[in-house]
Amino acid sequence: MSDLFLAYESLIAFVGINGLLALSVYATLCCGQLSLANAGFMAIGAYTGALITLKAPGVPFIAVLAAATLAPAIVAVPLGLPVLRLRGVFLAIATVGFGEVVRLFFVNWDYTNGALGLVAIPQRTHLWTIALALAVALYGLGRLRGSRTGYALEAIREDETAARTMGIYTTGHKLAMLVAGAALAGLAGALEAHHTFIVSPGTFVFGRVVDMLVQAVVGGTAAFYGPALGAAFLTVLPELLREIGARLGLAPGPFRLFLNGVILLAVILYLPNGLVSLPARLRRRARGSA
């Protein structure tokens, strides 16, 4: 019985951590910028947090998390200033490059045991820590809507040129959201490191940021809670379906990837605005048949 609870506890923890990561991608997505640097930011946060905990065990966990949030946010400024001049797919490519540079840096850094990574990190993350972090992130992003800043972000997403001639400092807004996303990703990285006992570069491959993006898109980016919803959905569903995969004789890893692909395809085809648009769509359908 307690084994069962432990298994679920970990699942719930990952729902929260993945929720934070999906929101970190949403931060730039909501002003129309496709930045894929977040696996890199997450790595910086995870390593920062793990190193402090391992080298200076006396530092309180809240300070560790603060440092892990701050470090990638600081790195995001000199990264953002040049790359945010790029648009669309060019920004995506440049930020993917950044993520790979960060990963390769940690692969080659002997101080953090290279490709093996840091192990035996004390478990300091509790479910309530994750829940609190997610709640704060959701609150902050939720309050944006309807504010002067929120309107500016929507304007930038819709038409950057027109936004500029309305007096909106687009570079500053885009940079602020990149920094906010980096902070969230770093926080999630540190929470994960202190939950799984281990940090290794293999966690921060390109596929990780694709996961974040898929969760954000499946949940829907029209509402601030969509990405968290998508993360919960895509984290829990494979666990529920794992049994079926096992019975069919499929390995769990590839089966999860296959399932993610199928779900993404289904959402794009039948629910292009994500899970958050499901209620409105059902209502329309009900009205249509009545």
Binding site: Y139, G140, R143, L144, G146, S147, R148, T149, Y151, A152, E154, A155, R157, E158, D159, T161, A162, A163, R164, T165, M166, G167, I168, Y169, T170
Partner: protein, 252 residues
């Protein structure tokens, strides 16, 4: 607010889209900018609003040099504009488009909203009320919650004017505000432009509707192939042989 251009040029490769343009828009006047298609009128507006940098010359707004400023700083000096090919925020409703236009007027910082202070809520309500009043002014109060992309062409143009007015501009740049409108709608826009000028705002108007220009403008500048070929009152322009030649071709 007076605007003066001195020897302003903009070249695209070998093409001189604006070539040594010199003219002044006096404070509080409605100034017409006309010329055949491709004369460089829109390029000139892009240069003034900071979307493009001139390759030569100077642009001054009440003593402020504009030609090296980014667009949001130009807007900060009190310049607002509309676009020939309409650039509304298509996914936002009509009223939200106008609220975005108030960006420069609003000061409430985001932390105040994070803390849910009543001051933030008051400011938001005031912004929305002001936007709705502006929509009413262009005759679209019933269409406030309609997505901009679902509005008719003429309605979109009027929302764009309301959005520009939301920033309380001292200089308003209008790029063919009546294009695609029926005569009734065009007359309403003409009334609005006159009203706006009556509030002491300076208007620079690109327009192909000659009668409208004759009615509204105190002064007119005529461009052809990037060059200023005539300046003067509408009556003088109508008599100018260079203008007649540019529009109708040389006589035999």
């Amino acid at each position: 607010m007076s605007l003066s251009l001195a020897g302003v040029s903009r070249a695209f490769g070998g093409v001189r889209a604006v070539d040594d343009a010199t003219f002044t828009v006096a404070d509080g006047e409605v100034h017409g900018l006309i010329g055949p298609n491709g004369a460089g009128k829109t390029t000139l507006l892009n240069l003034i609003s900071g979307l493009m940098q001139p390759t030569g010359g100077r642009i001054e707004l009440d003593g402020h040099r504009l030609e090296r400023l980014p667009p949001h700083r130009v807007a900060g000096l009190g310049v607002a504009r509309t676009y020939q090919n309409i650039r509304l925020f298509a996914g936002l409703s009509a009223v939200d488009n106008v609220v975005v236009g108030e960006h420069r007027q609003r000061r409430a910082p985001f932390w105040r909203r994070l803390l849910m202070l009543p001051a933030a809520r008051r400011e938001e309500r005031a912004a929305r009320d002001a936007a709705e009043a502006l929509l009413a002014r262009v005759g679209l109060q019933e269409r406030a919650s309609v997505p901009a992309s679902s509005l008719s062409y003429g309605e979109q143009r009027r929302v764009e004017i309301a959005r520009a007015l939301a920033s309380q501009p001292k200089l308003l740049l209008l790029d063919e505000p009546t294009a695609g409108m029926n005569p009734g709608e065009a007359a309403a826009v003409a009334r609005l432009v006159r009203e706006v000028a009556g509030e002491g705002r300076t208007v620079l108007l690109i327009e192909h509707n000659v009668r409208l220009v004759m009615e509204l403008c105190q002064h007119v500048t005529v461009l052809n192939f990037g060059k200023v070929i005539a300046r003067g009152t509408p009556a003088e322009i109508a008599q100018d042989p260079a203008v007649i030649a540019a529009y109708l071709g040389e006589g035999p």
